[in-house]
Structures are given as structure tokens and as C-alpha cells.
Amino acid sequence: MFLLLSAALASPAQAADLSLPHERYQLDNGLTVILHHDDSLPQVVVDTWYDVGSQNEVAGRTGFAHLFEHLMFMGTTRLPGSGFDDLMEQSGGWNNAWTSEDATNYYDVGPSHILELLLWMEADRMEGLDGAMTQEKLDLQRDVVRNERRQSVEDAPYGEAWEALNGAMYPADHPYAHPVIGSHEDLQAATVEDVVAFFQKYYVPTNASLVVAGDFDPVAVKALIEQTLGTVPRPPDMVVGSVVPDPVDLPVTPMLELTDEVQLPATMLTWHSPKVLTSGDAAMDVVASILGEGRSSRLYSALLHEQGLVTEVQAYQMSQELGSLFQVFALATSPDDDLEAIEAAVQAELDRLAQDGPTEEELTRTRNQLELHFLRELEDLNSRAENLNRYLHLTGEADYVAQDLQRYRDLTPDDIKAAAAMLSTARRQTTRIYPAPDSEGGEDDAGDDTGAEGGAQ
């Protein structure tokens, strides 16, 4: 059944019936449980999603949601010290966690015979982390997180630009106005009382969902979950008061010029764009791909290949719950390049796409790449578990993969044109990064007080 090239232009047939088979139910304490059975290997994944991220942080406590994530590994009354990681590793499991603007996700991966242990440990910390919190633990993880910040922001090339981004895009009272990693000052200000209050408000069964994926007995697993996570008390009914902020469509600081320890100037152009899974979001992904993905993309061909203006150029849509950002990042070719010329060339390509729309070929190849991307997302058990939680969180449906893919299949050339037109006419934010004049000098800007807020992890 090998297809000819003409047939290859159609959507791949086998990707049509993508799905994430699962069973979903709720425990009496309010915890949502999703079971995804796959016994092809003796492994299990336990993925716990808490509906809290840096958007929930209060003024003066930036970075707290992520700091809290670190504290979840610092032991409970029943399992003190590094017991969580000790038991995990000695039984052949591994774990990690991440925090974004919108959510905090913890995942444990291990051989299937330790499933009960994994559930027990997740239940243990969901129930009793606050009882064992101490100043020492907080101080220690604060130091670890501040080192994470030094590594991922301060000593990373162009890190300063990322750090400044959120503050330049969102007004100060917007939940996205600060970076997930937070400021040194706010991290330093966090107290044990903050930790306990945050835990009691957000780390409750009613604000979480649990995916158990992999090799388990579909009947016995329910009893195990009931005996472990089912015994975590239901919190008193309360509204977690998440205020949906007004949509933002203009950058707060349209132009930022920074210096950093880099060799080449770069420009970072950012626009407000449609929220994740809302109308226009999928089209922005395709615009990003047509502009910036691969050798045949428009920005690569025009700016790098034909005009020799850049050494590197990328475009991407960063989709999020309360508002997305579309971004183009371009790296100049020499220290005294004119960034304005690069910016004008990017704008010209955007205008052209807005004017003429995509070619049939561009649309086809982008769709096919996306189909592949979806298949790859479903390859690993760990990724399937996370996607079940992510879709549940975003849409209320854990298996939303077919609908998600359908958004891209339904796109017409006019949709792409409209998305490009939106970018072409909207006010963008421009951040220019220049090499620090004295990059071999003594002390300087790796310091802790960069002033502006913003950025990524």
C-alpha cells in the first residue's frame, strides 16, 4: 500500500483515528482520576496535575509556585527528609516536575510492581506536606531555586531578554506580568506561613487530577487509588477565585534595548496572540511554521539565504491559558549589524503572507509535519499521561487529541492569511539585545537586580 507522491499530499490516513483511551472517574474527596491502560512494558506512570501556576502568585511573591514545587520533595511527617526520592530511586523509579504560568505537574515513572508505592507517596505528600514544613527546608530550596535562576537566566546567553519579556508584554497587575522563575528578592521574602497557606489552598484533591498510565490490573488499581489518594481529606468547599484578566492586545513597553554577555546582537519581536485552543491559535502555529521552521521557511529563505541579514531566525507561537505570545527571534551576523533592517525584513515577510496567504504546498507540508508531531506525542507513555492531564485541564475532556488535530486539518488558506494579517497590523514589542561593551571587564550585569520583570524558565 505504498502511495504515490500525489497521494502523499493528502493527510496521512493512519493518523486519522488518534485517541487516548481512558477511564475517568472522581473520588469522593473530589480528586479526578484517569486510568490509561497499556501493558506492552512492565512500567507505570503516575502523573499528578495541580491547577496552580505562577499566574496565581500574589504581589511580592513571584517565583513562589515553582519554589513550592521544589518543596514537594522535601519530606513529610511520615516520610521525612529525602525519603520520597530515596524510595523512588532504590525501587527503580524516577521522577520530575515542572511549573508553568498555568499549572504544576509532577510525574513518577517506574516498574509496574512499585505502583502502590508511587500512589502512597503521592497521597502522603498531598495530604501532609504542610505539617512537616520548616524554615530550614524553605531556606534550602530557596537557595537551590536561586541557583536554578542563575543557571537558566543570568548565565544563559540572551537570558536577560527572556527575563524582561513578560513585564514588557503585560501590565503589572496581569497574572503573566512576571516570569515563572521569579525575582531573587521575592524568593527571599517567602515565609513558612506562605508555604502552608499555598498548600492548603491549592494542593487539595479538588484542585488536582491524577493520571495512572501503563501496566496495572484495571480492577485492583481502583482499590489501590481509593486506599491511598482516596483517603486524603476533601477540603472545605471554597472558591479558588481565579479571576480571568481582561485580554491584553498591546505591549506595555513597545521597545526595550538591553545589553548581555553575548557576541552578536539579536532582536526579539513579540505579539499578543490568541489563547491556547481558541480560534486563531492553530493558525498561529502554522504561520510560525511557514515563517520560521526549516530551510524552506520564508524567513530562512529571505533573511538568511537571500539577504544574508541573520545567522539564525525562528518563529513560534507560545500558547497559554490567559493569553498567548507569538514571537520571532533573529540573530544578527556581526556585532555592528543594523537590527532595524532585520526587523523591517521580518515585517515585510509578515506583510507578504498577510497579503497573499500561504501556498498550497506550504499548507500541506505544515499540516503533515503537525500530523507527525501528534503521533510522536503519543509514542511515550509518559507523554500520553501528561497530555491526558493537560487536555482535561484545558478542555474538560482528557482525550481531546483528535479534536486538537482536527483544528489544524480544518485550516484554510484564508485562516492563515487572517492570522498573518493580525500580526502584520498589530503593535508588536521589540527587544534588542546588544553585546555588553565591556564583556571582558570586571564586575557587571550578572547581578541579582535586573529591574525589569519578565521571561521564561
Binding site: A8, Q14, T77, R78, Q151, D155
Partner: protein, 492 residues
Amino acid sequence: MSAAILIPTLLLACGPKAPPTPVVDSRPFDHRLDMPEPLAPREFQLPQAEEATLSNGLRVVLVENHEVPLVWVQVGLRAGAWTDPHDQPGLASVTMDMLNEGAAGKTAAQLSNAQRKLGSTVGSSAGLDSATVSASGLREKLPETLDLMVDVLRHPDFPADEWSLMQKKRIQTLKANREDPRSIGDRVWEKLGFGDGYAGHQTTEAAYQAMTVKDMKRWYEANVGAQNAVVLVGGDTTMAEIQPLLEARLADWGAAKRDLVRPTDVDEHVIQPEATTIYLVDKPGAAQSVLRVGRFVGKRTDADAPAFQLHNMAVGGMFTARINMNLREDKGWTYGAWSWVDSNYATDRWQVGTSVMTPATADAVSEILREVAEAGQGHRISQAELDNGRGYLLGTWPLGFENPGKLMSETEAMWLYDLPDDWITGAPDRLRAVSLGQAHTAWDTWVRDQPLAILVVGDAATVGEPLSALGLPIVKLDADGHPLQATLETPQ
């Protein structure tokens, strides 16, 4: 139903707290209070690799996996950076990168476009020891994907205009790497290990500037050929399907010119530290210092290697290992600290690596040295620590075989490095057989009381003095690993 929740809540409030080990007393097992006992592991069947030979002798290895309709194909070549001529560091890597920049009359943009239309990806690259041309895509596009891969593998055009773009990019990347503390650390660490040979033979602006597409063609003809290759296939296909497709495209693929398939002199380049010495690269203003501490040990096939591997797990090989628990979870100086063994053609190199906050630099070096020394004497690793590392490695071992990638890459490593037939299948038993005494002996043989090289990339103005106070010789290096003049400080 709320009673089911209420009763445990009362127990938590006033009942006895179970210790973090399985409870052995007369009280009935309580799922909430008592830590569960692990069940017996379920039997794990390693996926089987199937072999075939094309009519020109080219070996094909297939790992089937039908979970998603994707196929991966990878042509491994015994030709990495070790083949670079002395005055042309980077030639293997550049040549392999260039394969994808124009082939069989198609431009780079056309190649990229063709792949994207299929939803496939084709890539080519070279590492230190080997080179690869790889492709992946939907099973139903397998023939077209293979056609593109074979264009890139067998009919590269080496267009000069693409080289001039890549040349600029490579030179810029090199410059950017000189600004990035972790890149500086990686480059200088190789330099300290191998001087100007093997992994220390590093790219320069001048070499890139002098390189021409003619050099690439010469390298390609010498190194890329069927007698020097293996084909690894994984995913949603069968040998009955893939073998004829490969036969049609690769059976007439000829030999490369060069006969030497692996380097013979690598260990001549190895520089074992003669005395424990600090090498310092200045990175003014750095918020963190990049640290490496280590030495060369044995070969991965040595009898002591599994015991050393397990000993390393306890010292720094996992999150709960001594060094991370000390530097991160006790002191809070770092986001993470690890130790590991690098295996390639040379003798294995063991090292600790971390980035620590600038003010803690000298203390962190001192703590690492103390952990290394005490693991040899004073605080030897215990049976429990050995078993924890073994539990981790044995438990996580099957997880890697979820998709065909790991078995493919391990099979390639066996071919490349001539590893024994039971290299993959025997791995769990080799770990199970290690005794505590053997782990101690391996550590004593390879690391205990031996000189260590210590690399620090950090703000010399701040860290220099505290490092001097450690009483070790300090050699100052530039960002390329070359000694700066008159910098040797002898300890008092």
C-alpha cells in the same frame, strides 16, 4: 461515604505515625499509614532485534514496534571527528552536516520541502566516534522517505553557497560558545583530557575559514561507504518489508576509500593528571562557576567496570547520591551535581560535574574532594547504598526499551566499539553479580588516592583567592584551554 474519609483523618490527628520503613507489628496493615511493600517485578522481555545482510554485505538490524505507524532508519558510519586531518578540525562534522544541504540536484530548500511534504525528517551529523544519516516518517511514506535519505547519503552535492552560509554560522557559534560558561567548560575539559588529540582536537575560526567543499568531498569519499556502515531500523515495519526496499537502494552502494575503521592511537592522547591541580578559566561577572573534577579510569569492558558503575551511582550517579545530597540538598549551592563515566574509544573518563553559585566555588571544590576521599577511606559506601544504586539501574532498565531508539543505539555501540555479544542482554546480570567488596575494590583501583584534574570556569576575581587557599596548584587557562603566561602558582 464520608465516614471512609473521616476515620483516617482522626487517625492522622492522634494516631501513631509509621516510620518510613515497612511496619512489622501486630497492627493490621493500614494502606494509608503504612508504606506498601513492592510486589515481585513482572518478567521483562527485551525486544528482539532481527538481522539481515544485503547482497553487498551491508548489515541490517531491525527492532519492530507497532504502537504508532512510524519508522526510523539510521545508517551508522565508522567515521567521526577522530578522522579529522590534523589541520582540519571539524571536517567530519561539517561534511556530514553538508550532506543535507544539497543532494541529487536538489537544493537545501528543496530537500527540506520534500521532507516536510511527506511529514518525514532526514538528518545527518557526525560525533566524535561515528557519523549518522537518519530518516523517520510514516510507515506509508517509507519508500519516499528512504529515497530522500539515500539521496543525502549517496549523492551529496556540497553546494559552495550553502557552505559559505554554514561557515559563517559555525564561526559565530564558536564565538558564542566562548561566552557561555558551560560550553567553555565542555571544551576545556576535553582539552585537559586529550591535549590537541582526539576529543581535544577542536574547531577553530582559522580551520573553518580555510575549509573548502573540496576538502569535504575528499573526506566523504574516504569515509562514507558500505563496508564502513550498518543500517538500523526501528518501528512499524517488518524485515520482509524493509529488506527489499533497502536492497533496491543500497545493494549497489560501494566501499569507501579508507580501510582504517577505528582509531588505534587514542589512548596515546590521554592526559592523566599527575598531581591534583585546579585549572581556572576566568569568566568575569559569572553568577555561577562551572566545575568538573575527574580522571581517566578503565574500559567499560573491564571486569571491574560494573562494580565501578555501581559505586559511582552511590557517589554521584543519581539524585539521592552523596554529592547531590551534599551540594544541593544540604548546602543549597547548586541546582544539581552529578558524576558519570564517559565511554568512547579512549579509556573511560570518570567525572563530577556541576554549576555552583560563585561565592561557594572553593567550598564546593573542597566538598567534592572530601566526598571522593571519604568514599575511599572513612565513609565507604554501604551495602544499602550499593543496593539503592542497583535497584535504580535495574528498575529503570526496561523503561528505556519503550521505543526502538535505545536498542538501536546500543546495537550501534556494540558494532562501533566491538562490544561482546551479551553486552545488552547480560547487563542486568552483570549488575546483580557485584558485591560490596568488588565495588570498593573498583573504586580503590581507579580513583582512591589518585590525582584529579579540577576545572573551574568562573569569576576569577571572586573565586581566585578562596581557591588558592585550598593549597592546590592553580593553572590559569584561556577560554580555549590554552595556559596563560606565568600563571603557575606553587602551593606554599
